[in-house]
């Protein structure tokens, strides 16, 4: 290991990192890595439903509420003459306190007018505060156990034994199996709880099962990730997975995969950097996956969204141009394929130079204009499209002028051709009206008397 200029922190070398990642870090490290990886899979699987049921904050409240349970379980065990640091005792205390925290939030939200998030904020901090007070008291006892307990706050994979890791792995597998078995029920309750209720499903019990699985993941993750950050391992992989797919089972698989990678890489790095809390490292890996998903996921990612917005703007602008050319040639009584300068299009005056280039390239790439430069000459495709668009536009205009009351917001004028949406009878009447006004577009340009 190399020491960093007197900071006392030793950074692992690349070969060391590679060795650990290839499970060459020794028996204990390897078992812990496998255990934390399975923990990540369980967290991602359960997290999918916690996210979709909008229970992220509730889960966080629950995990913070475990702290006093850990401390009180330790005190109770010591008072009864048992080994206070026994893992089952501490985790049992954590689970009970977490569930009590959730129950208190439910009670407050149900019986008072306080909004649920206020109840969660209050319960989270009060329970956490109580936990700190209890821990401080344990410290004054001088049993030397406080170090063992405080690792539950931040997580410490290095202190985990192979046996702990195997327990975690077994429970994690159980959580995943339970989630898969209840997939249908969870999907129904997450999507439409009222409908589920009418069908006779016990929605509260199913919600309780869902939360119960989050509690189990929290408790088995306390050692590795710590109670402050364990919920991040539940929520972040699922939230990141949502960017990649619109299929629930695929989202579950991706969330489990992200959880696994976070656990695996995080546990490996923290095995090499004992001075850093394992929870922080694991969650940072998850966070990196989230940021990548946020920006680069196709479909729902930010970049893909910007690209779509740009495309929409180009499509709208292209429609303006086509209609503008139609109207120009109509006004001159010239054929539709007559060249028209962009200067003749009033709205083009506001175009910036790059935007002008983009619009012209867009029209050209679609085969609507002959060259990406002004004056514009419509191709045959472009002329046909210009006629179609102008006709639809005028039909919609005429329609909305008479029927404003009828849900205009429901119509996507960009995509919906008037004749596809409106009743044929209405279209015929609107066409008559347009023809009377001399504004009914004809293929290839206006064949009707020019309107002044």
């Amino acid at each position: 290991m190399t020491s960093l200029g007197g900071s006392g922190i030793t950074w692992p070398s690349v070969p060391e990192v590679v060795a650990v990642l290839l499970l060459q870090g020794g028996y204990n490290t390897t078992v812990v890595m496998v255990g934390v990886t399975l923990l990540g899979i369980a967290a991602g699987t359960v997290g999918t439903f916690a996210v979709l049921r909008k229970r992220a904050m509730m889960s966080d409240t629950m995990s913070h509420a475990t702290l006093p349970g850990i401390g009180l379980a330790f005190l109770a065990a010591v008072a009864l003459g048992a080994e206070g640091r026994s893992l089952p005792v501490l985790l049992g205390g954590a689970a009970v306190a977490g569930v009590v925290g959730v129950a208190v939030v439910h009670g407050i939200a149900r019986h008072t007018r306080l909004p649920e998030d206020a109840a969660m904020g209050a319960v989270l901090s009060v329970f956490f505060g109580l936990g700190f007070v209890v821990l401080s008291y344990i410290q004054t006892l001088g049993t030397g156990a406080e170090g063992g307990i405080s690792k539950f706050i931040y997580g410490q994979t290095a202190a985990m034994s192979a046996r702990d890791a195997i327990t975690i792995a077994a429970v994690a597998v159980g959580v995943v199996v339970a989630t898969l078995l209840l997939f249908k029920e969870f999907r129904l309750v997450c999507f439409d709880p009222e409908f589920a209720e009418v069908q006779g499903w016990p929605v509260s019990a199913i919600d309780l099962l869902m939360m119960g699985l989050v509690v189990v993941v929290t408790v088995i993750g306390l050692q590795a990730v710590g109670l402050i950050l364990i919920i991040a391992l539940v929520i972040i992989p699922a939230a990141a997975a949502r960017f990649w797919t619109d299929r629930l089972w695929l989202m579950t698989v991706i969330a489990a995969g992200f959880g696994a990678v976070s656990g695996y890489v995080g546990a490996a790095l923290s095995a090499l950097m004992e001075r850093f809390p394992a929870g922080g490292i694991i969650v940072l890996v998850a966070g990196a996956l989230f940021v990548i998903s946020l920006f680069f996921a196709p479909g729902r990612g930010v970049l893909a969204g910007s690209a779509r917005l740009l495309r929409l703007r180009l499509e709208v602008e292209a429609q303006h141009v086509l209609r503008g050319v139609f109207e120009q040639t109509e006004a001159r009584g010239a054929p539709l394929t007559t060249p028209v300068s962009t200067d003749a299009l009033a709205f083009a005056g506001t175009w910036s130079a790059p935007w002008r280039t983009a619009v012209l390239m867009f029209l050209w790439a679609r085969g609507l204009i002959a060259r990406p430069s002004t004056p514009l000459t419509l191709t045959d495709t472009g002329a046909a499209e210009a006629w179609r668009q102008t006709r639809s536009h005028r039909l919609w205009e005429a329609y909305f002028a008479r029927h404003v009351a009828i849900a205009p917001g429901r119509v996507n004028r960009l995509a919906d051709m008037a004749e596809h949406v409106l009743d044929p009878g209405i279209v015929a009447r609107l066409e008559e009206q347009l023809a009377r006004d001399g504004r009914l577009p004809m293929p290839g340009g206006l064949a009707r008397p020019v309107r002044e």
């Binding site: 249908k184 009418v198 006779g200 009351a405």
Partner: protein, 277 residues
Amino acid sequence: MSPVINLPFGTPAAGADGTAAAPPPLSIHGLTVGYGRQPVLWGVDYQVPAASLVAIVGPNGAGKSTLIKAVLGLLPLASGSVRFWGEPLRAERRRVGYVPQRGSVDWDFPVSVEEVVTMGRYGMLGWLRPVARRHRQAALACLEQVGMAEFAGRQISQLSGGQQQRVFLARALAQESDLYFMDEPFAGVDAATETALVEVMRRLKAEGRTVVVVHHDLSTVPEYFDDVLLLNGRVVAAGPVSDAFTNENLQRAYGGRLTLLDDVAQALSRLDRKGVS
């Protein structure tokens, strides 16, 4: 509509032995519902006739949706009783279908159209049981009935409002129920969806089923429905449309709220309907 002789689903509970007439699909007695301290609905008494299309109408805040939700057990009753074919809801759940308000769910949820419709079959499946192929096929058949078969694989966020409504309708059809509750299914839908909704409702009626609809468009009540329940916190009038849906009762239900503006809006929408149909 021809009279219905053979009911394809469910047998009347009390009529089987010939001693009593079959109890109505839904009977409500003295139903009072409230949020917190203030009741929203007082003493509602109403019996839904079998094989009929029923509209629940009334001004905003009249308790129309509240009535449906209370009847379905989604809201606690302050008092009163609700019977389905003479039985409590618990005993007849399988025969009761539901089309909630479109806005009640997150349409960005990661499920496909087919998966949503298949949820209508979940009531027939037990715990932990996966969805069998025949249930998926039944769901597809229901999608076909509402003209949405080609959308089966779509994610639901890609649907228009009317398409969403038809998906909910298909999900209810997949329940194969004898009594349906629909909460504002006609709200904000396009003409094609409205036509599909009416067609489905009439087919259900022809099959001997009953449909109870929270409805907001007074002008279509006589055309679409047999029975009407006029609500405004309590029952203002109830019964066959020809008896209960009178100007006088409407004035009583809507009070001053049925203003000139509403009259104009209705006249307009009637005019438009003539053009459409």
